[in-house]
Point group: C2
Chain length 315, copies 2
């Protein structure tokens, strides 16, 4: 297959990727150009951030977040990497992840902020989940990561945190919320979550790009990334929705893209009023971060497990 | 597995079916009782029809519509079967279908109205689709069946037409409308379509019962039905959505049921205003049935193919 853009210019260049839902075969250079353009278009369309802002990029060590960090930096944005080290020992998962983030930090010559859960709190994420009596590590991990990313952004005066969520992630979450008709969540699902008192803005510049496109970008850009997923991820239900969408995508190319895009355009506005619950945010009595309760959920979990261990004499 | 209801009464009776999403194992008698109760509950909940009304049952010869006819008749409703004979010759599909409807008509001692497309219009459904230049036979067939069912109901003074659409059908249509965010269709999808001038009420009493439950009912009731689907159905896209839902159902029992039920409760009201387009209905200049144009879509198709054949000397 030949690159469509080269062909239009009368040149013969072999395509390295075929983007099925856009019917687009592209060579390395034109793919990288297209990929960057798509990302910048999304940033502009949703007014995610401006040139003057300092952008925190939440980096896990995976293809999505590392690609995002490199792309934003090369596009001239002032970036800072933020990495939460979770202390997952299996296959040296957390250690390897941190190293890959540090490697890209050096390559891009941009600072990396590292928060080590075990060092700061005394427990790894798996210990926190276990001691607090939660079976679903992924849900506890999500709560801690969202909390810490926001806390670090606020402390470091970063007005915005960018995450590597891609089209496969966003459409799977959308399908999950739709199949259960979680009208409140549907009213909130959006590529931008505005800043409020105590909350940095959250943005997803890769929300219209597929996993396949991002992995291609990462490889063509020579980014070293974690090739295995988190060893705990098998407990999450999102793979089920990803598989259902992959099946629909296989049968009808472009399903994921249209499903998410049309949702934002036509359906999300209808759900919006369902999402507007009135709730008062007050500073958490322990950490000072905004919460609807007296003590925020992260501090509650930490208090609980510290209490448990104090009683059993471990702490 | 033992019947749950018999067990509760201290009896040991082998279950013939396990209804996974209700976690209910039932013997023959208790299953039939449960099935009838569910149907009557749906009829009552959505005010589908009352005892005094004469009900047209759209029968194709398949398990769903024939089971519905038998159930409604046995429950004491005054029913009339309506069958559209489409002239599908492959595997003698239409001939066999008609015979099965006639057989049940005799068994139930209820009248059957038969409309033969070839006799009345001069063409089978496949000829109509081909001559009118439509590749998708299923869509033309749907248009003709809806038109004729309504026309016959109006002519026969039947205030309501009941169809055998089941949970698998309804949830697949819902998924298809959702994946494409067809907000107008989503605002109209409901187990009851109210009557208006020139339109009989349309109801779906089996909308919460699965294919598996209905086929079990048909077999246990000794109903003879077409075991093969329509030979043209492979061109329809709904199997793709049915397969996607079957996958989700397999992974998370009850998905289809909750997806459809929660939609009706929580999401449909939000889409309703999207469905309220103002359109004026006037009688079709040819057949007199209500239409938004001068000539209704069925008459337009028939005029077109009669014109084509007149020109080519075939008619």
């Amino acid at each position: 297959m030949l690159c469509k853009i080269c062909k239009a210019k009368g040149k013969r260049e072999k395509a390295v990727i075929f983007i099925r839902h856009h019917k687009l075969a592209l060579c390395k250079n034109h793919f990288l150009e297209w990929f960057e353009k798509q990302t910048l278009k999304t940033i502009k369309h949703f007014s995610m951030f401006n040139r003057g802002e300092k952008i925190g990029v939440a980096v896990s060590g995976g293809k999505d977040s590392l690609s995002l960090w490199q792309l934003l930096t090369e596009a001239g944005f002032e970036t800072v990497g933020i990495h939460i080290s979770l202390g997952i020992g299996k296959d040296n998962y957390s250690e390897k992840s941190l190293k890959l983030c540090e490697k890209l930090s050096e390559k891009l010559n941009r600072p990396l902020i590292v928060f080590d859960l075990k060092e700061e709190f005394g427990y790894t994420i798996e210990e926190i989940a276990k001691l607090s009596g939660r079976k679903d590590v992924c849900s506890v991990c999500g709560t801690f990561k969202r909390y810490l990313m926001n806390k670090i952004a606020i402390e470091e005066n970063l007005s915005v945190v960018a995450t590597g969520h891609n089209l496969d992630d966003e459409s799977a979450v959308l399908l999950s919320n739709t199949i259960r008709w979680e009208t409140g969540y549907l009213g909130r699902q959006y590529p931008v979550l505005s800043e409020r008192e105590g909350f940095a803005r959250k943005v997803k510049p890769f929300c219209f790009l597929t996993e396949k496109e991002i992995v291609s970008y990462a490889i063509l850009k020579g980014i070293d990334f974690m090739e295995t997923g988190c060893p705990n991820a098998k407990t999450a239900t999102s793979p089920v929705y990803k598989q259902a969408l992959a099946f629909l995508e296989h049968k009808m190319a472009g399903t994921k893209f249209r499903f998410y895009k049309e949702f934002l355009k036509k359906a999300k506005p209808l759900f919006e009023k369902e999402a507007k619950e009135e709730y008062n945010l007050t500073p958490c009595k322990i950490c000072g971060m905004p919460t609807t309760a007296n003590v925020c959920s992260v501090c509650r979990i930490l208090e609980k497990i510290r209490g448990v261990n104090a009683k059993s004499g471990k702490n």
